[in-house]
Structure formats: C-alpha cells, structure tokens
C-alpha cells in the first residue's frame, strides 16, 4: 500500500484532487498582469494548486496527494492521441467530426475476427498477383465513380436507378446498417432477388467494410437458416420483415431511408473480405467461401473484356441464381458504364446458366461461356463449347489424375481466400501445395504450348 493509500482512498479523493490540480485551470480576468494580488488569491484554487497546497486543503499527506494525482492521471490517459495531428497543417485544421481513431476504424467483433482467421493466402500467390497487376488497391466502391451519374445503372420492372441514385442509396443504407450495429467485418446477408435492392445492399455493405452474404430467394427455408447461422450473420436484409423471415431480418426500405451523417467516410480495404458464398459441401455441411475485394475485382477485370459491354448496354441477370458470379457480372456492367437489368425485353446481353458451373453470356453478335464455382468465380472461358475451355489471365490450372483426365485444380486471383467451414471441408478444399480442388472431373482437350483447353462435362451432358 504505497504511502498508506488504499484503492478506496483513490476512489474517494481522485476526482477532488484532480479538479484542484493543474490539470484543470481556470482564470478570470488578468489578475497577475494587473498586479491584483487579492483577486489572484481569490481565484488561486481555480487556477490549479500544487500537491502541497492540495494536501493542506484536504488533510492528506503530500505524498498521498502526489500518488493519488499521478494514479488518476494514469488511469485517465489514453494512448495514441497524437494521431489526431496526422492529417492537419498545410491549411487543414482539426475537426472533431472528421477524426476517426484508427483503432476504432478497425474494431472487429469476435465473429469478424473468426472470419479473418479463416483467410490464409499463400505468400507466393499474393506476390504474383500484385506483380502481375491482377490485384490492386481498387475496391468495390470505386466502381461508382462513373463519368455519367445520370445514366441508368439498374433497371427493374418497378424502377430505373441511376448511378447517382445507386451511390446515394448505398450511402444511406450503409448509414442505416451502421445505426443497426453493423461494424467492419460483420456479415450482412441479403435475401433478395437480383435487382436494385440487392445491388444497393451489396455496395452499402462494402462501404461499411462489412461482408456481404447473398442468399438466393429460391433457397429453402432450411438452407437460408443454416447459411445465416453458419456465417454468423449480423443481419439479414429482406424486402419484408413480416411473416416467415429469417432471424435477424431487417427491412431494406427502413435501412435505405436513413439520413447520411456528416461523418468520416467508411473505408474499404482491397484485401479485406467482401463476399461470402454459402453452399453445401460434399459432406452435407454448409461452407462459405470468403472472397475479398481483390478477388471480386480481379474476376471482373478478367471477364469484362469478354462481354463487349459498352455504355448504354443492358445485361439481363434475372436468370442467374444470386451469388458471386452474378455479382461479378453486375460489376462488369458498372465498370463499363452499362446497366444491369431484370427485364429481358430491352437487354443487349443475357446471362444464362447453361449447366452446372457454366454461364453463357450472349450479346447481339457474340457469345461467351464462363466456367467457375462459387469459391473460384470465373476461371475458365470459351467462345465455343464445354470441350474447349481455357484459363483466364492469371489463373493456373492442373489436372490431378491418370493421364489426361482427373480433378481440375486451380490457383488464381479470384479463388477464395479461405473457407468458413468445418475443418474437414477446409482441409479437403486445398492440396498441400496450395491448389484449390474443384472436385470437377475434366479431360485435357488439347494443349499448345502453355495453353491447355479442358473439356468439362456438366451434369446435363
């Protein structure tokens, strides 16, 4: 017990001593400059006393006052206040409402931490993707910086949403989700069909640094409940919150009606998780692939040139199940300044699932086929048929099996950064040397130089 001071004494005296000390100083008028000793004496206490003066006032020993004062100061002290200075000067002045403590900025819930712990990318792969320009600092929100904000971005039977509206509603919804308690790294599910609500939700969740879990409304009630549980979703955005809705349901309409506060913008980090793609693993247990902004944007950059989308084009995504691939195609539309539509009538491009893991995108005078799974996104492509698929840029492929047939294994910039799954499923998903096992049987159709064409038989063939 230093100087006979107990914790109880600290409790009793700490505020009093602190307030009397130099830590809080108040001066009335200008008594010293005016040599007004009486006025100065009258406010002596308010100007801040030293420890012997406080001791004389409180009846404590000087050592006790010094100890209690120092302990009080230490308990009040917060590390890293110096950071408040980092963006000041050179004409910039401090504004409390613009400052965000970096520790708060990266404050993660336990569930968000668990999701991050499930991500592990091989260092050699990251080096390669960055060296080859396949990964950059681009984030999903960058797609909304378009030249013509009044152009249509999403067209549905009910409305046409311009890029400006998409951006504004995403910001409002992000504010709504934040008010609802969603933080960085939290999972937000969306039980919505392809259309404005789904895509606005996607951008809103990204703005918060949260993770989007798209759930196709055609999933069974059991699957939805299981995926929501498995992915530890903080909330499930639904059109309606009445009737048979999952636990954690929140109304899209309520969220998007939120006022945007004058606060620092939420930051998006390219290497952060952006999307979860939930599915049933072969062992009948749910799993969810974790895809980062870099995964989603590299998939988009690979696919974009194949689609031949121009500003003004409309790509109909209504036939695709809601998931990673449909969102990649929507991103392609936004990157091209085109629009996503759910109205086939005026569509210039139509995306259709043609077989297991195959999507065909047809335009006026061309078609392209993409092959990929929810955890790999598009990794192979062809303009012909299922027997001539070649790897997209940056994607490495190999076949593990006898001779020219066997399981297709892939590595590439769009392949999941990790799985939220039971340890068995996770262990089964990658080989020891870091290849992702697709579980799909392929045969090598032909090979010239480095280019290998695979033949993939779908379930319907």
């Amino acid at each position: 017990m230093p100087y006979g001071v107990s914790e109880q004494m600290i409790d009793t005296y700490s505020e009093l001593i602190f307030d009397l000390s130099l830590n809080k100083q108040t001066r009335r008028g200008d008594p010293i400059r005016n040599l007004d000793h009486e006025a100065w004496l009258a406010q002596r206490e308010a100007t801040g006393l030293n420890d012997p003066e406080i001791a004389a006032k409180t009846g404590l020993a000087v050592e006790q006052v010094t100890f209690i004062r120092n302990i009080t100061e230490r308990r009040l002290f917060r590390l890293n206040q110096y950071r408040k200075l980092y963006r000041l000067g050179g004409g910039l002045r401090y504004r409390e409402d613009r400052y965000q403590d970096p520790e708060e900025k990266f404050d993660l819930s336990d569930k968000a931490v668990a999701l991050r712990l499930a991500m592990h990318i091989m260092p050699s792969q990251v080096k390669k993707f960055i060296a080859e320009g396949l990964w950059s600092d681009e984030v999903l929100g960058d797609l909304l910086t378009v030249k013509n904000p009044d152009d249509p971005a999403i067209i549905s039977a009910a409305e046409t949403v311009t890029y400006a509206q998409l951006s504004q509603r995403a910001e409002q919804m992000a504010a709504g989700l934040k008010d609802h308690g969603v933080g960085r790294g939290d999972v937000v599910a969306a039980l919505l069909p392809m259309g404005p609500e789904l895509l606005i939700s996607y951008f809103a969740v990204a703005q918060l640094g949260a993770v989007f879990l798209p759930l196709d409304p055609s999933l069974s009630g059991f699957e939805i409940a299981e995926y929501v549980r498995h992915c530890c979703s903080h909330s499930v955005v639904c059109e309606n919150t009445t009737g048979d809705v999952p636990i954690g349901a929140v109304s899209y309409r309520d969220l998007v009606a939120t006022d945007v506060p004058d606060q620092p913008g939420f930051i998006q980090v390219a290497a952060d998780p952006l999307l979860l793609t939930a599915s049933m693993a072969k062992n009948e247990q749910s799993k969810a692939g974790i895809l980062t902004h870099q995964n989603m944007l590299s998939a988009m950059r690979n696919v974009l040139p194949l689609l031949k989308l121009a500003p003004g084009a409309q790509i109909d995504l209504s036939a695709l199940p809601v998931g990673g691939m449909s969102l990649v195609l929507a991103q392609c539309a936004f990157a091209a300044g085109a629009a996503v539509t759910t109205e086939p009538a005026n569509a210039t491009h139509t995306a259709t699932p043609t077989d297991e893991d195959w999507i065909e995108i047809s335009g006026a005078d061309h078609k392209v086929l993409l092959w990929g799974q929810s955890d790999t996104l598009a990794v192979l492509t062809t303009e012909q048929d299922h027997s001539s698929a070649a790897a997209l840029p940056g994607v490495e492929t190999r076949v593990l099996g006898d001779g020219e047939a066997g399981e297709l294994q892939v590595r590439g910039p769009s392949v999941t950064a990790g799985l939220l799954a039971n340890s068995k499923a996770t262990a089964a998903a990658w080989t020891a040397d870091g290849w992702y096992r697709t579980g799909t049987e392929v045969t090598i159709a032909n090979q010239s130089g480095d280019k290998i064409c695979y033949s993939i038989k779908g379930a319907n063939q």
Binding site: R27, N34, R69, R83, Y94
Partner: protein, 312 residues
C-alpha cells in the same frame, strides 16, 4: 553602490547601465525580448515553495528573456512536422546560461540559470519554477486564451528562459494591455462562441468567455487533455502495461513495436524536442503568426522603411 562580490575585482555598476548592457548582451545572442521582474513580486505570486528564493536564497532580480518561435514556413507545415521543428528552445539555453555566467564574471553577483524542468518530487506535471510568471511580471508576455500561453504583441509566441541573480537590477512592469484576444478573435467569438484557438484545438481543451468589451472574462484549460496529446507523460508505462496485460501476441507486438510506440521511443531516445505542444492553437492565432516582428520578412521591410524615413 554596494554589491556582493564573489570573485576578483568587480566593477560596482550603475544598475540602469548594467541592465542596458545585459539587455544588449542577451539580444546580441539571440533573445528577442528582455525584461526584469522584481523577485519580491515574483515571490508574492508564486505558489509556496516555488518562489525564486528556493533556488537562490538572496535573489534580488529575475531576468527573463524570450526567443522567437517558428519561422513563417513552419507555421504552414503539416502538424507532425510542426511538432518536430516548431519549438525553439536551444537558443534560450545559450542566452540564459550565458547571461548567468556573464553576470557572475562581469559584475560579481551570484546568478543561476532557472531550470525549465519539472519538480522531481511530484512527477511530470508540476514545474519547479514558473517561467511564465517571470515573463508576465517583467512585461514580456501576457496570458492568452490558449491555455495561458504567453503572447507578445510584436513577437507573438515566444520561448522563455530566466536567470535569478543577487544583482539588484531595476524591475520592469507587466504589459499595460493584453494583446489577446485579437480583434478578429473577438469577432469570431461573437459569431460562433469560440475564438480560433478554442475552435481548432484537436482535443478541445480550451474554452472560456469574453466580456462585452472583448476582454477575457474566463479562460478554461483542461491541461490533462493537452498533456495527453502533446507531452504524453504516461505513454511509456502505458505501453508497457498494455503489453503485459494483453493475451494476444499480435496486440502485444503492435503495442510495443507499432508505429506509435516506435515513434515515441524514437523521440524519447533521440531527445527530439517535440513534446512541448501541438501548435494547432497557435497556428490559428493571429498574434502568434501575424504580428509584424514574428515575420522576419515583414520585420526587415518595416526596418528598411523606418530607416528610409530617418534618412529623409
């Protein structure tokens, strides 16, 4: 005139002449202002145990000098640059220590350079002596709304140093007027209830009121908030304690080796003179940054203009 001779053959000076000579000495070595406070008056206003006689029992005069603050370019620098090059205390030491030796060797009166440091009996927050009090009583600074930082109407924000001497020099008076708040600050206060320094302090530790005449009615300074940002007295032990307490290895490593910890340890070990203040209150203060003599370029122009008039 009787004087206490401590060594050799001392000249018994005329104290007015001696004061002028000492001022000349100080200004030539880099002081911008020079003043003398009556040690008895300082003693009266200083808290018990913190008067000049604690250091020099037979002290008669408190000499106080001020050196100018940062350059005009520094005022415009990013805050983290400003904190590392804004302070200008090295020159004080040269002038004040020089003065104390000069008085002893030249005039034969005991003198001591007044330590600008904290009183080791009480930790890091209580100063041994108040240099502010000396400068204020000697009329080379007046308390401002920015946490009582002293301001000078011509030289703005200065750094102060003091010498105590047994030499009985004629004392100066405090300033007749306080330059703070400046007219533009009164205007802003009337519009927004805050003066510039209050508005832009990053930890909002300044508040107060002006009276109808635009002078200070009340100045509040939450010094602990300023200290938390600038001086960071509790930083090192807090870093260590946090590192002991956490169960997470990465958090421990960030606490001990992260950017904040490293830059603090760098400052502490390299003795970088960065911890005095953050300068944001002074950066927006018209007196600190815009007084004529603060700006060497304007000062030189004014001197040339004055010389021109003299010639005419």
């Amino acid at each position: 005139m009787a004087a206490k001779v401590i060594s050799g053959e001392a000249n018994i000076p005329d104290f007015d002449e001696a004061k002028a000579a000492l001022k000349d000495y100080a200004l030539k070595r880099g002081a911008a202002v020079f003043g003398i406070a009556d040690s008895a008056v300082v003693e009266k206003f200083a808290p018990a145990g913190h008067g000049p006689s604690e250091l020099l029992p037979k002290v008669a005069s408190v000499i106080t000098i001020g050196v100018t603050g940062p350059t005009q370019g520094t005022w415009r620098a990013p805050a983290k640059v400003m904190t590392s090059v804004g302070a200008n205390v090295g020159r004080i030491y040269r002038v004040a220590v020089g003065l104390s030796f000069h008085i002893e060797s030249h005039y034969g009166y005991r003198s001591i350079y007044c330590p600008p440091h904290v009183d080791p009996e009480f930790g890091a927050r209580l100063p041994m002596q108040s240099l502010k009090l000396h400068a204020e009583l000697a009329g080379i600074g007046a308390r401002s709304l920015a946490g009582d930082i002293l301001l000078h109407p011509e030289f703005g924000m200065l750094y102060y140093g003091s010498v105590y001497t047994e030499m009985p020099l004629p004392a100066d008076e405090p300033m007749a007027d306080n330059p703070c708040p400046a007219p533009s600050c009164v205007k802003l206060y009337k519009e927004s209830d805050q003066t510039p320094c209050q508005k832009y302090c990053p930890v909002q530790c300044l508040s107060g009121e002006l009276d109808d005449g635009g002078t200070v009615a009340k100045m509040n300074f939450d010094m602990y908030r300023c200290a938390e940002l600038c001086q960071q007295y509790e930083n090192m032990p807090t870093i260590m304690e946090r590192a002991f307490e956490t169960d997470d290895q990465l958090t421990r490593e960030e606490t001990l080796y992260g950017a904040e910890a490293q830059s603090f340890f760098y400052k502490a070990t390299a003795g970088v003179d960065t911890n005095a203040q953050c300068f944001e209150c002074m950066r927006v203060c018209p007196i600190a940054t815009q007084s004529e003599s603060v700006d060497p370029i304007r000062r030189a122009a004014a001197a040339r203009a004055a010389a021109g008039k003299g010639e005419a």
